[in-house]
């Protein structure tokens, strides 16, 4: 049994909105991640998936986002208790992150080599020559041809897929134990997406790291994650192994999210859809947050937040998932 690398308990993230009252964007999120495992976090925009990851790496939007409660236990230490200075020793060294758009996360006016050297020197004492050798080796590892030439080039001289490879190489320089990939392939073409996802998986196995894969694409999750956490409006609605989530989804939101994707292998007349919209932040209903869009909801769903329903490790927050549930007459 591999040991647990990261355990998040009851994490709550608030956002400050000018003069108005703070809103809760991530509400009581708990999950754990073992070494060498990939956790897929799925949800639509605004569901809190990126904020959850930003809280783990300590990159919440400055002055607006803050952790209002809960614990983030990473290798046994609570990251929420660390000072900004202490977090800098963790970020980039033990936890790295790659973002959706590689062009805006690379600095356009510095050469690739300069940027990689900077990332390396923050955590390790190396000479310029050593830095160049380590960087070139890492670029080769992520499948970039002629790495020595690439080091002298600028980001605009690379294609989108190559830039994302550079980002991955940079994030792996310090041999992190956790890689957070926030929509790493959403701005790339499908053939390049397949290459990048394969690369992340291969590097995870080779280096024994854990991956948090954040995406809105159920297809990406199905092919790449071991565990899946589905989020909706700031809360976890379902958590389980990838097999459980795709063969026996228990939450109506998960079921419809899977059902609303057009299939490649069959013709369908009409797609199942989720009518309505996500409730806006700060105006969350007191009961189940999916209630207003859920075809199965009952009176109890509107009044009380749903209790967890567990089958082994598979958890869902839906009353109707429990076969013992009887709607009141």
């Amino acid at each position: 049994m591999p040991e647990t690398l990261l355990e998040v308990r009851n994490l709550t993230v608030n956002l400050k909105l000018g003069n108005r009252q703070d809103v809760t964007a991530v509400d009581g999120v708990s999950f754990s991640l073992k070494r060498g495992e990939t956790l897929g976090i799925v949800g639509e925009s605004g569901c809190g998936k990126t904020l959850t990851a930003s809280a783990v790496i300590g990159l919440l939007p400055p002055y607006t986002g803050y952790i209002a409660g809960g614990e983030i236990l990473f290798e046994g230490e609570d990251l929420t208790k660390k000072t900004a200075r202490q977090m800098r020793a963790v970020r980039g060294a033990k936890i790295s992150m790659i973002f959706q758009d590689p062009m805006s996360s690379l600095n356009p006016v510095y050469r690739i080599g300069t940027q990689m050297r900077e990332a390396l020197r923050v955590h390790r004492d190396v000479t310029a020559k050593e830095a160049r050798e380590i960087s070139a080796e890492m670029l080769r590892k992520v499948g970039i041809p002629l790495p020595e030439t690439r080091l002298r080039e600028y980001p605009h001289q690379l294609s989108g897929g190559q830039r994302q490879r550079v980002m991955i190489a940079m994030s792996l320089l310090s041999n992190p134990s956790l890689l957070i990939a926030d929509e790493p392939t959403s701005s790339l073409d499908v053939t390049i997406q397949a290459q990048i996802l394969d690369l992340i998986r291969a590097l995870r196995d080779e280096m024994g790291m854990s991956v948090m894969l954040i995406t809105h694409d159920m297809g990406v999750v199905a092919g790449n994650a071991d565990k899946v956490m589905v989020m909706y409006a700031g809360k976890v609605v379902e958590y389980g192994t990838v097999e459980e989530i795709f063969t026996n989804p228990l939450h109506p939101y998960t079921q419809r999210l899977i059902g609303s994707i057009p299939r490649l292998d069959m013709d369908v007349e009409y797609l199942s859809t989720i009518e309505g919209m996500v409730p806006p932040l700060g105006q969350m209903p007191k009961g189940c947050r999916f209630c207003a869009r859920c075809p199965l909801h009952t009176g109890a769903c509107q009044e009380q937040p749903p209790p967890p329903f567990r089958i082994g490790e598979h958890v869902t927050f839906c009353r109707r998932a429990n076969p013992d549930f009887r709607p009141p007459p």
Partner: protein, 331 residues
């Protein structure tokens, strides 16, 4: 055979660009965004156009709309050749071909209300008296599932899905024969995509219109399209019915695209055809078959020939399944 609403033949669009240097030392090249594209769309039919970024999909949409001048080739709406028509001559024909863009945040004027947005096409095309226009606007709103309370709303007061519904209604209000849809759901959230695709399918059934549906998502294409054309670097490399493309694709590029598409099903994580590298870019297009630099089956012979679309199969129902693969039918 149903009448055709759009025929394009031998479309070419070249952009002269400077690849390096300045003044006397600059090196000029030609970017071939489209290099001989031909197809027809029949009444009531949806043609899906798939390909990766930079393959010329959006350029093609703009050319068909006559938003960009064409380098060579012919565009025919119904039976009217519009390739060389002046803007003024084109005006009465605009009603017949409309467009939906990818991003409804950018395509709707933020300073106009829904009423103004929907009235604009009627006014500029001089369709109906003012009173009839109001009726038409109400009908259009109703058909996209929004009520009249939306009439005085501005785009920023609506969600992405509602905005895209308005863009759909605006394209449909002049009762066009053909709607060119350039990635109409890519900017939307997953749960909303289904709503818009369902809406587009329903409106097509009700009004008998045709779509040119441009997308990089094969799932969406399978759902909405009757025929599919696959583009690579400015050329169509395979074209056929939905079944031809999804169940019996012959071109290696189509096969690779299909296998790279993530499937939301853990029982079907099959072996992927992993392509080497990325597209060559439309400035330095490889000779012969443009795909040969990434193709797992390329041989020396693939560098020869023009890479034109070949039609290996012609069936009794008039549909054709064509592939530009130089090694067909060996593969």
């Amino acid at each position: 055979m149903a009448e055709t609403v759009l025929t394009v033949s031998g479309l070419k669009k070249y952009f002269p660009i400077t690849v390096s240097g300045r003044g006397l030392y600059r090196e000029k090249r030609v970017l071939k965004a489209l290099d001989g594209v031909s197809f027809t769309i029949r009444k009531g039919e949806t043609l899906g156009l798939v390909g990766e970024s930079g393959c010329g999909k959006s350029t093609l949409a703009k050319i068909i709309m006559r938003l960009l001048p064409v380098t060579d080739g012919q565009i025919v709406y119904g039976d009217t050749d519009v390739t060389r028509l002046s803007t003024k001559q084109l005006r009465p024909l605009r009603r017949r071909v409309q467009m939906i863009f990818q991003d409804p945040y950018a395509s709707l004027n933020p300073r106009e209300t829904v009423r103004e947005l929907l009235a604009a096409p009627l006014e500029s095309m001089e369709l109906g008296e003012p009173r009839e226009r109001t009726v038409k606007i109400h009908k259009a709103l109703d058909s996209i599932g929004l009520d009249t309370s939306f009439l005085e709303k501005y785009p920023h007061e609506m969600s992405g899905g509602q905005r895209q519904r308005i863009a759909v209604a605006r394209a449909m209000i002049s009762k066009p024969d053909l709607v060119v849809c350039d990635e109409p759901v890519s900017a939307l959230d997953v749960s909303v995509r289904g709503q818009i695709l369902n809406l587009m399918k329903r409106l097509q059934r009700e009004q008998g219109l045709s779509y040119l549906f441009i997308s990089h998502d094969f799932g969406n294409v399978r759902y909405l399209c009757d025929r599919v054309a696959v583009m690579y670097l400015g050329r169509i490399v395979e074209e056929g019915t939905k079944q031809d493309i999804f169940d019996r694709a012959v071109h290696p590029y189509t096969k690779a695209l299909l296998s790279a598409n993530p499937v939301p099903d853990i029982r079907q994580q099959g072996k992927r055809v992993m392509l080497r590298g990325d597209t060559a870019g439309a400035v330095y297009i490889p000779s012969g078959c443009a795909f040969r630099t990434r193709c797992p089956h390329a041989t020396e012979g693939c560098s020869k020939g023009g890479g034109r679309l070949l039609t290996p199969l012609k069936r009794a129902d008039g549909d054709t399944h064509s592939s530009a693969c130089p090694r067909y039918p060996a593969l």
